[in-house]
């Protein structure tokens, strides 16, 4: 696993800014896998994800001058935000009405939070990717990006109420998958 120190992160950003040889490839070798994981959480389709990922890299490299170092991990956090934004733009452009359709979905009473200790991350990733587009997007933003329903609504151009109802449905679908997994792998 790559770990990057504070000095290195700052220096890498500086080298990217100066257009130094090899800086982009170094960035790729350090961050690409994590960014890929985030990107494919929003866009499970491999081909689409690849396109959005490449576009994200271009965006990162062309806007590196906007980045300001704010402590360890800030470069990665900044890059992740760009990836997420690119993914959201892609979804809004191609799946807009799939997102809008979910405006009418009523909120469901939420199931209990299922235990996830025993579930490996790649399994969680797979489960999330199986959620319908709207559910998945709202779930990702709410859980992993810690966004409020108000923020999600404005990001996706949907009603705040719809964000809540989609989250509840996403959560219930996911809870069911988690329960099934637990039953299968760790029967009590």
């Amino acid at each position: 696993m790559f770990e990057i120190g504070k000095q290195d992160e700052q220096r890498l950003a500086e080298r990217l800014r100066n257009g130094e040889n090899g800086a982009m490839r170094e960035f790729y070798s350090l961050y690409a896998e994590q960014l890929t994981a985030i990107c494919s959480r929003y866009i499970p389709d491999k081909d689409d994800m690849k396109d959005v990922f490449q576009e994200s890299l271009i965006r990162i490299f062309t806007h590196i001058s906007d980045f300001s170092y704010r402590g360890e991990g800030s470069l990665q956090a900044w890059a992740s935000r760009i990836v997420i934004n690119e993914a959201l733009n892609y979804l809004k452009e191609t799946k807009r009405y799939e997102l809008l359709l979910l405006d009418d979905v009523a909120e469901e009473p939420e199931d209990e939070d299922p235990p996830i200790e025993e579930i490996p991350p790649d399994e969680i990733q797979r489960m999330v990717s199986q959620l319908p587009t709207g559910y998945r997007t709202v779930f990702n933003l709410y859980v992993f990006e810690n966004k409020s329903h108000q923020e999600i609504a404005s990001l996706l151009g949907i009603k705040e109420r719809s964000s809540a109802s989609q989250l509840s449905r996403a959560k219930n679908l996911l809870a069911k998958m988690i329960r099934d997994y637990n039953d299968k792998h760790h029967p009590r």
Binding site: M24, E33, L35, T36, V52, F53, Q54, I58, R96
Partner: protein, 444 residues
């Protein structure tokens, strides 16, 4: 969902990695280079526009002043002297006359020609002086930068034969022909016309002109307000389109990813995931313009225009299908400079060029989702940035009465990319053919 569960989930996935896809470094470097260039171009534009305006205004004003002056000077000097038959005397041609009036020169030559014919038999020296003066005039004609009457250059009064015989043939044949070409520079009548204001109402239609279209794969478009750091100036994919008489179609296959895959996977026959088809109808433009004429030839006009842009957009993918009808209203302020090329009492032909700034004031989109479930939706569309355009063309005008005329102005226009994601005729067909037809009212 409890906060604790949420945090647990986040922690679990915090370090999760997936094998990264291969990226095309060539494409990335190309995009970076293009981005640098784009940034340069963008910063250059305001200066260029400012420069163009300055040049236009200066040239216009200069030309106007020059013409007024010329008229006085030339009529007083060269013309009068020559007309009086004082050909032996070298005509005084002030420096300014290098851009002098062709008709006057032609007239002068005509006089010279007549005079020469009369004095054919006179001494050789006299004719030589005539030749001198005519050549000076001819030179002045040659120095006319733009509208040169080709025939007039041939009007070289030949050096006389030792016998004193002049070759009349070239003069006779070419001089009369020179007149029609020269006409546009005839300012003589402008003295009587003076300045006046005209109001103009027009109805305009524009259609596609270019063979390539900018296709912004942003169906159905957002005014990118989300995050200024990430709103992406859309990369465009030029595609050929189908042009029909009254509608223009942009067909964009494989929506957003297309801009990448079309580059990276050239030649690969990929199954299109999304199909985004746009039919942009010809924009209809109404205007109310005030025209200010400097003189009979030059005028400037400005006012308000209203344009309605309608488009039919359809989006389909394997699991999804929707149709949308988009109507965008623009209010614009055009500024045009026009120059009358030819005119009679009833009819005139002119060239005009100018620019326009437009703002989308009202945008509606009616969306009908066909599958997976039927759903209808009205939504509003907003385009915040202003829309700039430049245009140029030739117009013909028919005067019913002094204050009312009918005109048609075909031309071309270019609509600058305003960075908006909303698919519009302007964005998809930045270079398009225009036809303005309408009525022009003249207020004296």
């Amino acid at each position: 969902m409890k906060e604790q569960w949420k945090q647990q989930m986040r922690q679990k996935m915090a370090d999760y990695r997936e094998p990264a896809p291969e990226v095309s470094w060539d494409e990335i470097e190309k995009a970076l280079a293009a981005n640098k260039q784009k940034a340069k171009t963008v910063t250059m534009w305001p200066r260029r526009i400012a420069a163009a305006v300055v040049v236009l205004v200066t040239a216009g004003a200069g030309y106007y002043l020059l013409n007024r002056e010329q008229q006085e000077i030339i009529e007083e000097t060269a013309e009068t002297r020559l007309i009086e038959g004082t050909i032996i005397q070298e005509p005084v041609i002030p420096q300014k006359e290098e851009v002098s009036d062709l008709p006057i020169l032609a007239k002068a030559k005509h006089k010279i020609q007549q005079a020469i014919e009369e004095k054919k038999t006179e001494a050789l020296s006299v004719v030589a002086v005539v030749e001198d003066s005519v050549e000076q005039l001819a030179q002045a004609v040659e120095e006319q930068s733009e509208v040169q009457a080709p025939e007039s250059q041939e009007v070289k009064i030949q050096a006389p034969e030792p016998q004193g015989q002049l070759q009349e043939q070239p003069r006779k044949s070419s001089l009369p022909e020179a007149h029609p070409t020269i006409y546009p520079f005839d300012f003589k009548r402008s003295a009587s016309s003076g300045k006046r204001l005209m109001a103009k109402v027009y109805l305009s239609m524009s259609g596609n002109f270019g063979s390539t279209d900018m296709c912004y794969n942003n169906f159905p478009g957002y005014s990118s307000e989300s995050d200024p750091s990430t709103d992406d100036p859309s990369t465009d994919v030029p595609l050929t389109d189908n042009i029909t008489a009254d509608t223009t179609t942009v067909q964009c296959r494989g929506s957003y990813p297309d801009k990448l895959s079309s580059r990276s996977s050239d030649g690969n026959n990929q199954e299109p995931v999304n199909e985004n088809v746009r039919h942009h109808h010809q924009p209809i433009r109404f205007g109310l313009l005030l025209r200010y004429a400097f003189n009979e030839r030059w005028s400037i006009e400005s006012g308000l225009s209203y344009a309605l842009l309608t488009s039919d957009i359809s989006l389909s993918s394997t699991s999804f299908k929707a149709e949308a009808e988009q109507r965008l209203s623009y209010i614009g302020i055009p500024i045009n400079v026009s120059y009358q090329i030819w005119g009679s009492r009833r009819f005139s032909v002119y060239a005009s060029a100018g620019g326009m700034v437009e703002k989308m004031v009202k945008g509606k989109r009616y969306v009908e989702v066909i599958s997976p479930t039927k759903k209808e939706k009205d939504e509003s569309v907003s385009i915040r940035p202003l829309q700039f355009s430049v245009n140029g063309g030739v117009g013909a005008e028919f005067k019913f009465v002094d204050w009312l005329s009918l005109y048609a102005e075909p031309g071309v226009g270019y609509w600058f990319d305003n960075g908006s994601d909303v698919p519009t005729h302007y964005q998809d067909k930045p270079f398009s053919f225009n036809l303005n037809v309408g009525l022009r009212f003249t207020i004296k």
